[in-house]
Amino acid sequence: MTGQYLPREKLAEALADERCLWSAAGEQASPCETIAGLTKPRSSLSPKGWLYPSLQSVGRYGDGPTSPPAEAQAPRAIVGLRACELAALKYLDKMLLDGPFQEPLYQSRRKSAVLVSTDCAAAAPTCFCTSVGGLPFAADGYDVNLSPVEGGFIVDAATDRGRAWLASAGLDCAAATAEQLAQRDRTRRAATEAVGGQNRSTGLQAVQGQSLGLPDDADPAWQRYAADCVECGACTNICPTCYCFYLYDQALGPKLFERIRTWDSCLLGTYHRMAGTTPNMKPTPRPRLRSRLANRVLHKFTYAPAQCGLLGCVGCGRCIEACLGAIDIRQVAGELRQ
């Protein structure tokens, strides 16, 4: 189904039926808030936190009941995903599901959710998707895409799962008029120009799948940016593609233990630190903050294309918003590229 028109109030009715699991307007958003969010810039939090929670039990071991309660999960919709967030999921799928081992919890939630995306009708001041090979509307990766137009949305159901979700939500659409389709295209062009315009001066223009030539993590040039970093980890937490984690165990009883997976941040000094104190045993390969900051940027722009053929940065600009030191990844990558 492409080029169908769905009035706003019909979508509101459908969402009231609790089909929305995560909304760009917030996890607890009402249908009205969710729909209002569809025409705003991308939200401050990405759906990573729902698909890949920051703190999660991965199981128990020892003497005692070792099975935690199973997660009951009916397929439900993530509503209001942006093109950058779909790009982030494409990347996370590669990194967490395509290797010799799959991340089971991400896989479970990822596979059960219907992805309902929307075109960006407005850009956040830090948005820069067009600088990293993206656009503010999705070409693929969604089950259903909603393009905001006057009074409602142009609906594009790309998959059987998306069509089934529309049908189960009772969302029967009418054919869109030529004017509505033209309006969608005008909005897309305007958003693309807005994002491009606000980034013209950054000097960052990465090509999807290609490594951006950056100095290695031993280069002192990174110090210029690392001087402002306070090692808070906000950039990695807020990033829709950062997936690094750490496992630790906690005691549930004298001989029963629970293993917890928690997000970790490559900016933190403990991230790489190993045991060993003698000078011959180098406890960390990146003792300097500048090397760790470099490692994050290099992962996004150099290592990720080598690892999976995709850039690891989708240009959402959340790390710029979140950074206490006002470090702007557009500026870092733009100025250091060789």
Partner: protein, 272 residues
């Protein structure tokens, strides 16, 4: 059915604790289910409630029911592992990593270079090669430790060297009363290598500084980077290529290593 079993260790009973040196012990574990591994692959060893760490078994892959892990006391978890007693139940996950390319060594002269506790994973390689020396042309072992008392597996050297095609040379850092052998760091055993260099493949394991100087020594002897495999150490959590922290450039050591061909990483910073 999605399961998270891959994160959870299998129980393994500690059946023997061997005091190897004043700082190194070998824990011999009997996993609840035999855990097959290739020489050079590593496992994650859990001390319940204390912590988990990656270790490459030092025992032969032919005994998946009895896995030896040789551990240098160097931090919180290894300190506690040294306090374990036979009968304690630990946990194992794995195996992870690629392992040594044992099946690609036919017709090659294999040079094994170890420093300190670095001989532990190399022992699995040595034992795997000793199981069938037929395909390889030669096995040369060069090993160095700080002092006589720190020589790991020293009761086995004569037995290894008595096999055809095998030669072994050992050194300690500085002279010691009662020691008649070589002194000096292990790189002193790598000068004027009497090996057919084009056929040589070298496997190195030891502290970073030893890897650095041994690699330099081998290169100056004429080995190409792609003839050198380095056993790399980085912090690891998952072991499965997911948690992110063990990278050297785009490679995750847990998935692409932990033994890396030097040609792949020689241009990366902070390798040693």
């Amino acid at each position: 059915m999605i399961t998270t079993d891959s994160y959870i260790p299998t129980p393994a009973k500690l059946v023997e604790v061997i005091d190897e040196t004043p700082t190194i012990k070998t824990l011999v574990l009997a996993p609840a289910e035999p855990m097959s591994f290739k020489a050079g692959q590593f496992i994650q060893l859990t001390l319940p409630g204390v912590g988990e760490g990656p270790f490459t078994p030092s025992s032969s892959p032919s005994r998946p029911d009895r896995i030896a892990i040789t551990i240098l006391r160097t931090g919180t978890v290894t300190e506690r592992l040294h306090q374990c007693r036979p009968g304690d139940v630990l946990g194992l996950r794995g195996p992870y990593g690629k392992g040594y390319p044992v099946d690609k060594l036919a017709g090659r002269e294999v040079l094994v270079v170890g420093g300190g506790v670095g001989l532990a994973p190399l022992r699995a390689l040595i034992l795997a090669l000793l199981d069938d020396l037929g395909p390889i042309k030669r096995l040369s072992i060069r090993y160095g430790a700080r002092g006589m008392e720190e020589l790991l597996f020293r009761r086995e050297y004569d037995q290894w060297a008595s096999r055809p095609k095998v030669d072994m040379r050992v050194t300690i850092d500085s002279p010691q009363s009662g020691w008649n052998g070589n002194t000096g760091v292990v790189t002193t055993l790598l000068k004027n290598l009497d090996m057919t260099l084009p056929q040589c493949v070298a496997f190195l394991c030891g502290p970073g500084i030893m890897l650095q100087f041994a690699t330099q020594a081998l290169e100056s002897e004429g080995l190409r980077p792609d003839q050198i495999y380095l056993s790399m150490n980085r912090r690891m959590s998952c072991g499965m290529g997911l948690c992110g922290r063990c990278n050297i450039g785009p490679y995750y050591l847990c998935k692409d290593g932990p033994d890396m061909n030097y040609a792949m990483i020689k241009d990366a910073p902070n390798v040693f």
